[in-house]
């Protein structure tokens, strides 16, 4: 079932770009543009996560946060304010994370995923075409047949699946799969992509994007 995300952001362009990115990776979104409207929607509908801008008209993000806190919906604040004080207020009010504008889409997706996992709302099975990934078992099947992957290949596959339709650079793959303290060459990524393509028959779906990196496409 698709996760429902409420985007509370008064700047229509920012709201749209967030919506586009979330739609790409398979979230269902709803957009509202001020605090009062957001409160109405939250009371009315069931959301898995709220992306909440702090400076919004009619009722600011902090005030809204206080009102919706008892509902136990995960909240990530989006704000242009960089001040530590505001971060502390936001987190104290019960927000789960804090994104400072401008932010990168994959950073937002990663944080959303972390927050959803904390609330036990993460997927246990991820699917792409005829591939199924059973996350709790760490098992990958292609057409019901188990395929053996090395740990790094498995991690790489998860990153691709979670950022479906978004191109990631080799550096981003390294950071997410090998960790920030990996000093190997970006060639390592190419090697692993090559073997994933081969093992899972993804030659047509893992696209090489000129000057950027790789993208998993439907």
């Amino acid at each position: 079932m698709k996760k429902r995300i409420l985007i509370v952001e008064d700047d229509i362009h920012i709201s749209n770009i967030i919506k586009m990115n979330l739609t790409l990776v398979g979230y269902e979104t709803e957009q509202v543009y001020d605090g009062m409207e957001a409160l109405d929607r939250i009371k009315g509908g069931k959301f898995d996560l709220i992306l909440l801008d702090v400076m919004i008209p009619r009722m600011d993000g902090f005030e809204l946060m206080e009102k919706i806190r008892p509902m136990q919906i995960p909240v990530i604040f989006l704000t242009a304010k960089n001040a530590v004080f505001d971060k502390v207020i936001g987190l104290k009010l019960g927000a789960d994370d804090y994104m400072v504008k401008p932010f990168e889409a994959i950073e937002l997706l990663a944080r959303m995923e972390t927050v959803l996992r904390r609330y036990g709302k993460e997927e246990t099975i991820m699917s792409f075409q005829d591939i199924n990934v059973y996350i709790d078992k760490r098992e990958v099947t292609v057409r019901e047949e188990v395929v053996e992957l090395t740990p790094k290949e498995y991690e790489l596959l998860l990153v691709l699946l979670k950022n479906k339709n978004i191109a990631l650079s080799r550096e981003q793959f390294i950071e997410k799969v090998w960790g920030g303290d990996f000093y190997g060459e970006t060639r390592t990524v190419d090697m692993h992509i090559k073997s994933l393509r081969k093992k899972l028959n993804l030659q047509d779906h893992i696209k090489t994007i000129y000057k950027i990196g790789y993208r998993l496409e439907d």
Binding site: H13, N21, Y33, P102
Partner: protein
């Protein structure tokens, strides 16, 4: 040591020294006076013996017998002793070979008697001497009788005088202790009382030092400390005002920075977001065009923000040269470009300009007119009307821009001059506004010492009037 302790200690020390010194001087003076009196009495007693002896000397010369002399002298001595029968008077008569002729001494005569040495006839000498526990006054004179010298010693016991002095000292010590105790107690309270206001002020000063700038000293006395307290309070009030002002300035600055950050980051977020989306996803023409449009318009917004910020910063730090000018000329000069602005939205521009001569900075006035017209156009619907007027009202020039647009509600009117304040955020953003136009207008008005008046009614329209101060007649003739 604390101040009250110092006051207390020094005054007590001074008191003790002066009181003791004075008392000792009084006692000693008293004593020496009485002693002098006694000496005078004793000497005159001795003289009286001397004179009685001198009276009989002629008779003794006739008889010239030692035995007779001795008998006469003894008789005189006995008579004298009987007359001065009080306690502590002694008489001794000795001849030139130091043989005692008469004596009623009850103590041993000291062997060394310097008062007797080199006594001239008719001379009386005296000396004070301690014998046993007594103090005795020795007087001596010598009389020649038939070529023999007799020494008459009259001795007076003056111990009671010394006892009296001792007695006075004893009494004085008792009195001294009591007086000092009373003085110490009184001084303790006095010095405490005198320094209490100082302690009050110290407490207040500490409070203020700890950051409570609203603290004041509450003292009602009119002495120097009262004056000090009043001055202290005035100082505290000045400091408090300054601090409040600093805090307000700081807060304003912080808000300004926060707003700039927000206004910079919002378009940047869109630009980066769209650019990244477009480079990392599969090409799709509709999305691509939409993205490029957003990037373009947000870029434009950043550009306009940068220009306006530069204007604001320039206005804050610059000294402007005012020159005599005519408002009407400035408006006329701008007419073509203003017409262009209004025409793009199909709005009609009405101009009604009187001659208005005043000192002005032409470029700044142009910025004001542009901003006001821009706001008016944005507020107006299509086919609306925007008026620009300049008029001279009893010497004070007025620049007025009016529209028949959406108007500003009362809750927003007080805030529209604040930097980055937007009454209608969405509309302002769509027009590439940053909420700085009216801030800039106000800064420029301030430079011209002009007031800005706003009349607005929702749905009816807005009139913004810049009222310049009346210029003096004298400057009217200036070139």
């Amino acid at each position: 040591m604390k101040f009250w302790q110092k006051i207390c200690l020094f005054s007590i020390l001074t008191f003790i020294i002066i009181f003791n010194a004075a008392s000792i001087m009084v006692i000693e003076r008293n004593h020496s006076k009485m002693l002098q009196q006694e000496i005078t009495n004793t000497l005159s007693a001795n003289m009286s013996i001397n004179s009685s002896v001198n009276a009989v000397v002629p008779i003794l010369r006739i008889y010239d017998s030692i035995d007779y002399e001795k008998t006469v002298l003894t008789n005189i001595a006995n008579q004298f002793v009987r007359r001065n029968s009080d306690q502590g008077s002694y008489l001794e008569i000795a001849d030139d070979k130091d043989k005692t002729v008469f004596s009623n001494l009850d103590f041993a005569m000291p062997s060394e008697r310097e008062e007797r040495n080199k006594l001239a006839p008719g001379e009386i000498k005296y000396i004070l001497r301690d014998i046993g526990e007594r103090t005795l006054l020795f007087t001596a004179n010598v009389t020649d009788i038939n070529h023999k010298s007799y020494v008459f010693s009259y001795i007076k016991d003056v111990t009671p005088l010394y006892a009296e002095r001792m007695d006075q000292y004893t009494f004085f010590v008792q009195m001294d202790v009591v007086a000092c105790l009373i003085y110490i107690i009184v001084m303790f309270f006095i010095s405490k009382g005198l320094t209490k206001p100082i302690e009050t002020m110290v407490r207040s000063a500490k409070e203020i030092a700890q950051g409570d700038f609203s603290e004041r000293v509450h003292l009602k006395s009119r002495d120097e400390i009262g004056v000090l307290a009043t001055n202290f309070n005035e100082m505290a009030a000045v400091v408090e005002d300054k601090i409040i002002e600093l805090e307000r300035n700081n807060g304003e600055k912080q808000r300004f920075i926060n707003n700039i950050t927000h206004e910079l980051k919002t378009p940047l977020t869109s630009i980066i977001g769209y650019a990244n989306y477009m480079r990392s996803t599969k090409y799709d023409e509709a999305t691509f065009l939409e993205g490029l449009n957003v990037i373009y318009s947000e870029g434009k917004r950043l550009e306009s923000l940068a220009t306006k910020l530069m204007d604001l910063i320039l206005l804050k730090d610059h000294q402007f040269q005012m020159k005599k000018g005519n408002l009407k000329d400035v408006v006329t000069e701008l007419e073509p470009s203003l017409k262009q602005i209004v025409a793009s939205k199909g709005i009609q521009l009405e101009m009604d300009c009187q001659d208005c001569r005043l000192p002005l900075e032409k470029d700044l006035i142009k910025i004001v007119i542009f901003n006001l017209i821009d706001n008016a156009v944005k507020a107006s619907s299509e086919e609306g009307k925007v008026m620009i007027r300049t008029l001279d009202q009893r010497g004070s020039c007025i620049l007025e821009v009016a529209d028949e647009g959406s108007g500003i509600s009362q809750e927003h009117i007080d805030k529209i001059f604040e930097p980055f304040y937007m009454a209608d955020k969405a509309r302002t953003r769509n027009n590439n506004g940053a909420g700085l136009g009216l801030s800039i207008c106000r800064s420029i008005a301030d430079i011209h010492h002009a007031e800005i008046e706003v009349d607005s009614e929702v749905g009816v329209g807005t009139t913004i009037r810049i009222v310049f101060p009346p210029c003096r007649e004298g400057s009217e003739d200036a070139p």
